[in-house]
Symmetry: none
């Protein structure tokens, strides 16, 4: 029994920190593994000890010993630490960050790149044909109905705000427990329904879309790219990427898309004479006046 007294207060330091601390005193085979970990490219916690050992070219025993020596009860504990730090943020980062030099910068940096990635993927996968067709309808429809539940509600609200900058008759369907009946029966052939349905969707959404479809109302469906391919009936479908490596999804993708639709719709409306110059002023209003 190696009488290694674990009198350390056992506060959670990051795995890398622990390795640095012990690096000099590690035997060769364990050090090989430790160095592998230090410049490991991917998500360490997605691998198991056996694989890591193989990658480093050492025996499983060495791996086991290494994590013990680093102060973990076992490999599983180490893996969990790595995983949770990623998901929950290092408690250290938030509290003891006076010590380390580059504390949050890098953290918020990774949020930024997460958003940028989502945006990029969203714009990459846009279907220009559907967009083109939808834009025409957005401009020409007599009335536009917008619907979105739960997390999709605010995007519908955003879209409405944008659209009323350049046209009339843009209605946001109520989202509370209220019934849609009265609105749905109002749907007319010249209308357009824009349904925002990011995960996770509720059955109501499909019902409204279906109702519109039955009445011959075209449906523009904004969804996320992970959604099922047995999509609800929709005339045009535009998907966004909302994936993020943090706890919550990111909606910068949909925001970018709606912004894009808005700008292009105004252009189109202007071209077709449906927006007169003075109407565009409305749009500019928010830009210009500083009050």
């Amino acid at each position: 029994m190696n009488g290694k007294a674990p009198n350390t207060p056992e506060r959670p330091r990051s795995l890398e920190a622990r390795i640095q601390e012990h690096l000099s005193e590690l035997p060769s085979s364990e050090r090989k593994l430790a160095e592998l970990i230090l410049d490991f490219p991917g998500e360490l916690s997605a691998y198991n000890a056996t694989e890591l050992a193989k990658l480093a070219g050492v025996s499983k025993a060495a791996a086991s010993r290494l994590f013990k020596r680093l102060g973990f009860a076992n490999f599983e504990e180490a893996r969990r630490l790595v995983r949770d730090i990623k998901q929950w943020g290092s408690p250290i980062y938030l509290h003891e960050r006076q010590q380390d030099s580059s504390p949050l910068p890098s953290e918020s940096q990774s949020f930024l790149s997460d958003h940028v990635a989502a945006l990029t993927r969203t714009f990459e996968q846009l279907d220009e044909e559907d967009i083109e067709a939808a834009l025409h309808r957005i401009v020409e429809a007599r009335r536009i109905w917008l619907v979105g539940f739960r997390n999709s509600y605010f995007m519908a609200a955003y879209a409405r705000w944008q659209f009323i900058q350049f046209r009339r008759q843009v209605h946001l369907l109520p989202h509370a427990g209220e019934t849609f009946g009265e609105h749905v029966t109002e749907f007319g052939e010249d209308d357009l329904l824009i349904a925002v349905g990011m995960r996770r969707r509720v059955p109501e959404l499909a019902r409204v879309m279906h109702a519109a479809h039955e009445r011959g109302v075209p449906v523009l469906y904004l969804t996320d790219s992970l959604s099922s391919d047995k999509k609800p009936v929709a005339t045009w479908t535009l998907s966004c990427d909302i994936s993020s490596s943090f706890l919550f999804h990111t909606y910068v993708g949909p925001m970018g898309l709606i912004h894009y639709l808005s700008v292009q719709a105004v252009r189109l409306a202007g071209k077709s004479g449906r927006v007169r110059l003075e109407d565009i002023e409305i749009a500019h209003e928010q830009v210009r006046d500083f009050d």
Copy 2:
């Protein structure tokens, strides 16, 4: 038993794709788990089947069955697929899409870079101290009131949706012509008011903020960096860059900021014991209650 003819070319579809394909025919308990996976924000392969089952609130048996049904030999195979695909970057379907659809109409490219620029500037100018302080209050406040008018309304709605994922008593003040009087008188010292005021602001906003201030309620003010410097009274101010070279402002910055606040608040709440790990389920709740 498994009548699944394995003559399928078995090209590696992403886990998500496989789930989509089978989603409709999955029994409820397996579907619950499948939904959890589709919504899973983090690194799936860092979790084991037992943990996933627990998060989804189903038995380990269900998890085991699910992966079998999706065509994997066992859970381990699925985990490895996820891990390796991640390593390779984007999932297959993104790749295929990229090929045929024209690279990027340069026009939408410039929208993209506009958004990215706004996001970057937003994250660059974040005041970490204010954020830190605001986060604590977000976690500890008894009640949170959110207010936003016009174009700011949907951001307040988004923030509310995020915050109710991990805490109670988050209220979105009505935005219609309704009077705030009744709500404002309710403001208590333990509360927090979050005011979203992107240009162009209306006088009501300053009034509500002022009312809160008078009652000793701290105010977190989310605004845009172009706002006039005669700011309303606010305890903490966080500004975003919303400028865009197109007709409308872009709100990806505020969205990123709110996302950031949400994730960090959950982390903080977890540390202070206000959200225990198993309460992540709240966040994943949206996954579960679909029947």
